[in-house]
């Protein structure tokens, strides 16, 4: 369950599923939060909305496997279980090999193409949000961009997106302009790298 989604976010969705289960005497289905938020925030939120654990983005095979085993082994888990990806030391390289291992070269190519389009759209939305002084739209767009960057292993760019998100949350529009400039430059490098990349 992604926590940030349109229409109904992950926390409310999980709460409503739990309410429905209680009302109808249904078996409790394991729910795992998948989030690009900070670990402590994610843990508290997952616990609050009766989820069984959380996974930090980017999700990989090992952590997903362990989490599924964990929630299946404890249908009545009280404490959320945490599985956290190690921080990557190499911020410059995209995790192409991992993506190819996960879904084959076709999926990796598609992910790159989707990222290229998606990230351009989100930058436009960020610029627009800044112009209108709409901090909450900037939070949404930067959080989404952070998630996409993490999925591809564009870690440095994801940190810049996190910087923009942080300032937008504080309503710091001046700081946001500065952070957005850094994000744009970093994203430009990633987009250029993607354009050069041939996935075979």
């Amino acid at each position: 369950m992604d926590l940030h989604m349109p229409l109904l976010d992950g926390l409310d969705t999980a709460r409503m599923i739990r309410e429905r289960e209680a009302a109808e005497g249904l078996r409790r289905v394991p729910i795992v939060a998948v989030t690009a938020s900070e670990a402590t925030t994610a843990r508290d939120q997952a616990q609050e909305s009766s989820m069984d654990g959380y996974l930090a983005k980017p999700v990989n095979r090992e952590f997903l496997t362990r989490m599924i085993q964990s929630v299946l082994g404890a249908a009545t888990a009280v404490q959320p279980r945490h599985t956290h990806s190690e921080a990557r030391s190499d911020g410059s390289s995209l995790r192409m090999e991992e993506l190819i291992n996960i879904g084959g070269p076709e999926m990796a190519r598609e992910a790159l193409a989707v990222f290229a389009t998606h990230s351009r759209e989100l930058l436009i939305r960020l610029e627009d949000a800044l112009e209108r002084g709409d901090a909450s739209a900037a939070v949404e767009a930067s959080h989404s961009l952070k998630g996409s960057c993490l999925a591809l292993g564009a870690d440095e760019t994801s940190r810049h997106a996190a910087g923009v998100e942080h300032r937008a949350r504080k309503g710091d529009l001046t700081g946001l302009r500065e952070a957005l400039t850094m994000l744009e430059s970093s994203l430009h490098d990633v987009q250029a790298a993607i354009a050069e990349l041939t996935v075979v």
Binding site: M1, D2, L26, N60, T65, V114
Partner: protein, 57 residues
């Protein structure tokens, strides 16, 4: 952590994720783990899916 639990005990996985890049990654991972899955883009669709096909059915 009990590592003896078979992944296949999760007969179906519902993924609620709005980000298209992350959808691709989750689809790939669940395929790799040979788990049947559905992917929906928001909470409302997730609830609808949950209500139409509760766990265990």
């Amino acid at each position: 952590m009990d590592n003896t639990v078979s992944l296949q005990a999760a007969n179906r996985v519902l993924v609620a994720e709005d980000n298209a890049v992350n959808q691709l990654v989750m689809k790939g991972l669940l395929g790799l783990l040979d788990l049947e899955h559905d992917i929906v883009p928001d909470g409302v669709s997730a609830l609808e899916k949950f209500e139409s096909e509760p766990a265990g059915t």
